[in-house]
């Protein structure tokens, strides 16, 4: 009995593979998109477990370490001995003899090795599980661990960036989810029924897209009552952001509906007397779901950037909520940036996440139509 060659097997697998399997294969060919997906998975994983990953409580402050520069990781100590486990030096306040201002400098007499699963500030994971183990940290009661420096109140920037990630990353998802609901309903009506409904919805979309977004958002955000709790402000901001965000998704949905309406299999379903909802949900939605996922991925970075911009201007989320935009507020003027450039670090994370989403969305878009080759 002749054995099948490797190539034949591959060919057979190709013929019998499901649509999603084909898309996955296509997607994995786009290396940058796969790397981006890994980056995003890590970022969302960190955001999910931020209490555990962050070395400190984001609100713990110490007036002695105001604007402390980032600690350097050392492997070689003063005596020239090599340590496999990196360590950091402690900090001390010193008066700068030139400017006569107090500055925080490393104190080389105290060394702190960095430990995995070190005990530190107590926290409650998801508000449920009390613990005091952190992914990494230093063992010291009197010394805080500033890998990314400290802010103007002496809080740990790294911990705040990690906690801020939870808000900034989730606001993108929640906002896009809201936009998706509006987009599917309105775009679906527009594309499936056509006629007057289509005309009105298209005009509304054109109108919203021709407005300058930031001034409009600012106006809407300023109308949120200042008495609202943080969580209500959070949802208020996501609703404001999806106010314009839905238009893009509605266009995608409408375009797909219009194209699919003419397809033979829809006509067949209609002739078989399938009810309208069944045609939409069973036949139409699965065939454009992949396109929709790609468009969704591509619209998340816009949401994240918008939230960052609004919060940066002081009209989005407000402290004590920590988001990347809120953190960047302290870097708003040139003087603080020159004095403490590490305050710009939250911006680096915005850029990484936004680029990763863009690359992954590009890969998904290419993979969305695996039969197109």
């Amino acid at each position: 009995m002749p054995t099948k060659s490797r190539k034949d097997l591959q060919g057979e697998r190709l013929f019998t593979a499901s649509q999603w399997q084909l898309m996955w294969w296509r997607f994995t060919r786009h290396k940058l998109a796969v790397i981006s997906m890994v980056v995003l998975l890590v970022a969302y994983g960190i955001a999910l477990f931020c209490e555990f990953v962050a070395p400190h409580d984001p609100n713990r402050y110490d007036a002695r370490w105001v604007l402390a520069p980032p600690m350097k990781l050392h492997f070689v100590d003063k005596d020239g001995r090599f340590h496999l486990q990196p360590f950091v030096y402690g900090l001390k306040s010193k008066r700068d003899l030139e400017t006569l201002a107090m500055v925080v400098v490393p104190d080389e007499s105290r060394t702190y090795p960095i430990k995995l699963f070190a005990r530190g500030d107590p926290y409650e994971l998801w508000g449920q599980f009390a613990n005091d183990r952190h992914l990494f940290g230093i063992k010291a009661d009197d010394q805080m661990f500033f890998l990314f420096g400290a802010d103007e109140l002496g809080r740990d920037s790294l911990s705040r960036i990690i906690y801020g990630g939870r808000i900034s990353l989730s606001i993108g998802l929640v906002g896009v989810f809201l936009s998706l609901i509006f987009g599917i309903i309105l775009g679906g009506i527009s594309g499936y029924y056509g006629g007057v409904a289509d005309l009105i919805i298209q005009r509304v979309i054109e109108f919203l897209r021709s407005l300058p977004a930031i001034p409009l958002w600012l106006m809407l955000a300023a109308a949120l009552p200042p008495t609202w709790s943080s969580i209500r402000i959070y949802f208020g901001i996501t609703i404001i952001l999806s106010f314009i965000g839905w238009t893009g998704l509605a266009r995608v949905v409408r375009g797909r509906f219009l194209a699919l309406r003419e397809e033979d299999f829809i006509l067949a379903a209609r002739l078989a007397n399938a009810p309208r909802m069944r045609i939409i949900l069973r036949h139409m939605v699965p065939s454009f779901a992949s396109h929709l996922i790609a468009s969704l991925t591509l619209s998340i970075p816009g949401m994240i950037m918008s939230e960052t911009a609004l919060s940066f201007l002081g009209l989005g989320l407000q402290p004590p909520i920590v988001s990347w935009g809120v953190l960047l507020q302290s870097a708003q003027n040139l003087r603080s940036v020159v004095l403490a450039p590490w305050l710009l670090l939250p911006g680096l994370f915005v850029v990484i996440v936004v680029l990763a989403f863009n690359f992954m969305g590009d890969g998904l878009r290419d993979a969305a139509d695996p039969y197109a080759m």
Binding site: A213, L313, V351
Partner: protein, 328 residues
């Protein structure tokens, strides 16, 4: 053609009407009317607030009347007398405050638009005609980067680098020496020296997008049979590219006006806050912070009207350039 233009202009009027209604609603949204806030402010500064003054003020803005009458009064004053109401924060008519800043916003947005065109045009053509060359990859990378970096962050980083490397403060539009000086050539040169930072920061995202569209369009066009035919007939490559495909692929430059302009005006708002430019952005932000809703609302009204006007102009231009649109 004329019919198309008339149609578009007729559509413009209800659009501006909707903008004004939206703006008015937003002005009314915060709790308490403008007079209550004003009275509280006067009291806080130790001045006596007479009931008479408040009633007079309420009457002037029609605050004692139903909301539709209030709207009619507000928009009527704007259209007929150019009266946008009173700014509480500045204690001056809004109309006195906004125009100069509005001109700066328009100048900055248009300047950036021109920059975007000048940069994107040659790069787009080069990227398409030299697809997958090293330069094409470089431009693609810059394009992705430009779209991925929030513009205000770019402004902050440029300011920081400018200060710590070259010791120059890149904020503002003029050096201190020229700030209050009358217009002269030297002052204009000084303006140009400062203007490039906001223009580059603001333009990079739009430029990146435009290059991508220009490249994609031109690539589609270059693969069409008529190009092959012309090449087979021995037409010079340069003449071939410039004479036909480029002209067809040029559409996004004009239609882009409609997409790019709202983004530019929107981006200019936040850039101006970071770089402290005398445009509408910082003033609108301050107005919103102190709940000076008439001032903020006027900015929203005018900026939105301007972008919609830009869309109108781009639609007409596009119809003029591309017959498929006015006949379709």
């Amino acid at each position: 053609m004329l019919r198309y233009i008339l149609q578009r202009i007729l559509l413009f009027i209800p659009t501006v009407f909707v903008i004004s209604v939206v703006t008015f609603t937003l002005i009314q949204l915060p709790p308490g009317d403008y007079i209550t806030v004003y009275a509280a402010q006067l009291e806080a500064s130790g001045q006596e607030v007479s009931e008479q003054l408040l009633t007079a003020l309420r009457g002037r803005y029609g605050l004692d009347q139903p909301i539709t009458i209030q709207y009619a009064k507000w928009i009527g004053n704007i259209v007929l007398y150019g009266d946008f109401g009173q700014s509480m924060q500045w204690n001056r008519p809004v109309a006195d405050l906004i125009w100069e800043r509005l001109w700066w916003t328009i100048a900055l947005s248009l300047g950036t638009l021109i920059f975007t065109w000048i940069v994107a045009f040659p790069i787009g053509i080069y990227s398409a005609t030299h697809q997958y060359s090293v330069a094409d990859y470089v431009f693609t990378f810059i394009g992705f980067f430009g779209q991925g970096v929030p513009d205000f962050l770019l402004a902050l980083v440029l300011m920081w680098l400018g200060y710590s490397w070259f010791g120059v403060e890149v904020g503002g539009l003029f050096s201190a020496a020229y700030k209050d000086a009358p217009w002269s050539l030297a002052k204009f040169a000084d303006l140009l020296r400062h203007l490039w930072v906001p223009v580059v920061v603001l333009g990079i995202a739009g430029t990146a997008g435009l290059i991508r569209t220009m490249r994609a369009n031109l690539l589609d066009e270059l693969r069409k049979p008529y190009v092959v035919t012309a090449r087979a007939k021995g037409m010079k490559e340069r003449a071939l590219v410039w004479k036909y495909p480029v002209r067809v692929a040029l559409n996004p430059f004009i239609s882009g006006l409609a997409y790019v302009l709202p983004g530019l005006v929107s981006g200019a708002t936040i850039i101006s806050v970071v770089l402290s430019l005398p445009t509408t952005g910082p003033m609108m932000l301050r107005a919103l912070m102190s709940q000076d809703m008439y001032l903020a609302g006027s900015f929203l009204l005018l900026l939105s009207t301007l972008t919609v006007l830009g869309t109108l102009v781009s639609d007409i231009l596009l119809a003029w350039v591309d017959p498929r649109i006015r006949l379709g």
